[in-house]
């Protein structure tokens, strides 16, 4: 048993290494018929690279929007820390990468959308019933990603929280599955994506008591109002045609996840 768990731990470590190793080779901005689109490569349910293909809600929304703009998307990895740089240097045109709209980020980039309202939530083992939200975390061991917004927020919300921080969520999920931490906290979409993965199906559940609001927007170069309005029109069409609901059900549905209040969201005005 222990041997298997150590094996799982090693595998998760190896995964973490490869995930950070495959950097993107950036180039000039998209011209002609292709458009460079930044997504996450390592988040199941949202943006995940599977072989040479890409899967997830962010990917499906990106494909739809690109099609509406008459372009073929070329996917490029956009890790959280590099998103602003990728946009401002023109290495990608649009970013769909669990990119929350915040005033701080609006200083360096512009946003279309939002196309999804997520919220910080908790992921626990399926047989756990005593963790119901941020108020029931006393004496529990939590896990999140180093320096992430979720890690900072849980520290503010639950003073003295017993928080282990790792480099990626995969490591947290491995430890949660092994039973050595009690809960993993970040956006409910990311949690649902992990819970829906084949190897964790039925073993983990999202608590469903969100305590923040993350409005996922489409990142684009600051001040590109025309592009922003085109993207917003495409997003609206996606929601109206029912494609949006289909994409959400297909990518996040398998874990029994239902989008929270406010979904599907109406886009903000472009500026």
């Amino acid at each position: 048993m222990k041997v298997r768990q150590i094996g799982a731990a090693l595998a998760a470590t190896a995964l973490a290494l490869t995930a950070s190793a495959c950097g993107s080779s950036g180039g000039a901005g998209g011209g002609g018929d292709t458009m460079k689109v930044g997504i996450k490569f390592d988040q199941p349910g949202l943006g995940l690279k599977v072989g040479s293909d890409y899967k997830g809600l962010d990917v499906d929304v990106a494909k739809y929007v690109a099609k509406e703009l008459g372009k073929t998307p070329e996917f490029i990895q956009a890790p959280s820390a590099q998103r602003e740089t990728l946009l401002s240097t023109g290495q990608v045109t649009l970013i769909f990468a669990t990119y929350s709209i915040t005033d701080k980020r609006k200083e360096s980039v512009s946003f279309a959308g939002p196309y999804f309202i997520a919220g910080q939530d908790l992921l626990v083992r399926a047989d756990n019933s005593d963790i119901t939200g941020p108020d029931s975390l006393a004496g529990k061991k939590l896990c999140s990603v180093t320096g992430s917004t979720s890690a900072q927020k849980i520290k503010d919300k639950v003073p003295g929280v017993n928080l282990q921080e790792f480099g990626t969520y995969s490591e947290c999920v491995a430890a949660l599955d092994a039973g050595t931490i009690d809960a993993l906290t970040t956006d409910n979409t990311i949690l649902a994506g992990f819970a829906a993965q084949e190897q964790y199906k039925g073993k983990l559940k999202v608590v469903g008591n969100t305590f923040s609001e993350e409005r996922y927007g489409v990142g684009l170069k600051k001040g590109d109002k025309a592009l922003c309005e085109q993207v917003n029109a495409a997003l609206k069409k996606m929601v109206d045609s029912g494609e949006w609901q289909k994409a959400v059900d297909a990518n996040l549905g398998p874990a029994g996840f239902k989008p929270g209040a406010g979904n599907p969201p109406a886009a903000d005005a472009c500026s």
Binding site: K2, T13, G147, Q152, L163, Q164
Partner: protein, 221 residues
């Protein structure tokens, strides 16, 4: 820039980096000396163990050691140093930095031992000193003096490698704090250079010091 410095504890982050460096430097010097003694000892089993330690640890990525310490040893096998996750991760980081750099300290010391003419070791044994006595009185003092320069390089590498601890430590030391600032404020070159400068300030004087020490302390032959 100014408001970022007042909102985030950058000095505190570098203080944690210094703590990790000092503790791990002491730890790796102790473990490394023991392993080096094993590698030059007259007992074949000890030599084999020392060689195995160096080859295994030196060729394992530090990232893997770090994550494995908390995920594998601490969480799965229950080797908890503290119930509080952050304290637990801190001490595991110190241990793993020590264990990893001990392999390099060992090799630096062994190169120091190799600078001593074999005749000295033979002379020490022939006047009746035991292996431990000849190590203490003859070999190690000269080995440390001969190995100052590579030991200095190892220490500088150790200081920079403390950033790998951010993987398990969260936003307490310098690299973790940098990723936290990047998450909240977006990536900014000036902040990046500020942190880079912090590391230059920590390592450059050490480099100068070790170079001059290696010249002053070298055993003249």
């Amino acid at each position: 820039m100014g408001d970022i410095l007042s909102n985030y504890n950058v000095l505190g982050a570098f203080w944690v980096t210094i703590q990790l460096s000092v503790l791990a430097a002491i730890g790796s010097l102790l473990i490394g000396t023991v392993v080096a003694i094993m590698r030059v000892s007259p007992v074949a089993v000890l030599r084999g163990l020392g060689t195995a330690y160096v080859n295994i640890i030196r060729n394992t990525p530090l990232t893997l050691l770090m994550v494995f310490s908390v995920l594998g040893l601490s969480l799965l096998l229950g080797l908890q140093i503290s119930e509080q996750a952050s304290t637990n991760a801190y001490w595991w980081a110190v241990i793993m930095l020590s264990v990893y750099h001990a392999a390099f300290v060992c090799e630096a010391l062994r190169s120091g031992v190799n600078t001593i003419p074999a005749g000295q070791a033979e002379a020490a044994r022939s006047i009746g000193l035991t292996f431990a006595q000849s190590l203490r009185e003859v070999l190690l003092p000269q080995a440390f003096r001969g190995a100052i320069a590579p030991l200095g390089s190892t220490l500088i590498a150790l200081i920079k490698n403390t950033t790998v601890a951010a993987l398990i430590l969260g936003a307490t030391e310098a690299a973790g704090t940098l990723s936290k600032i990047t998450e909240n404020e977006g990536a900014q070159l000036p902040i990046f250079f500020l942190f880079a400068l912090g590391f230059v300030l920590l390592t450059l004087p050490l480099g100068v010091l070790f170079t001059s020490m290696s010249q002053r302390l070298a055993v003249k032959r």
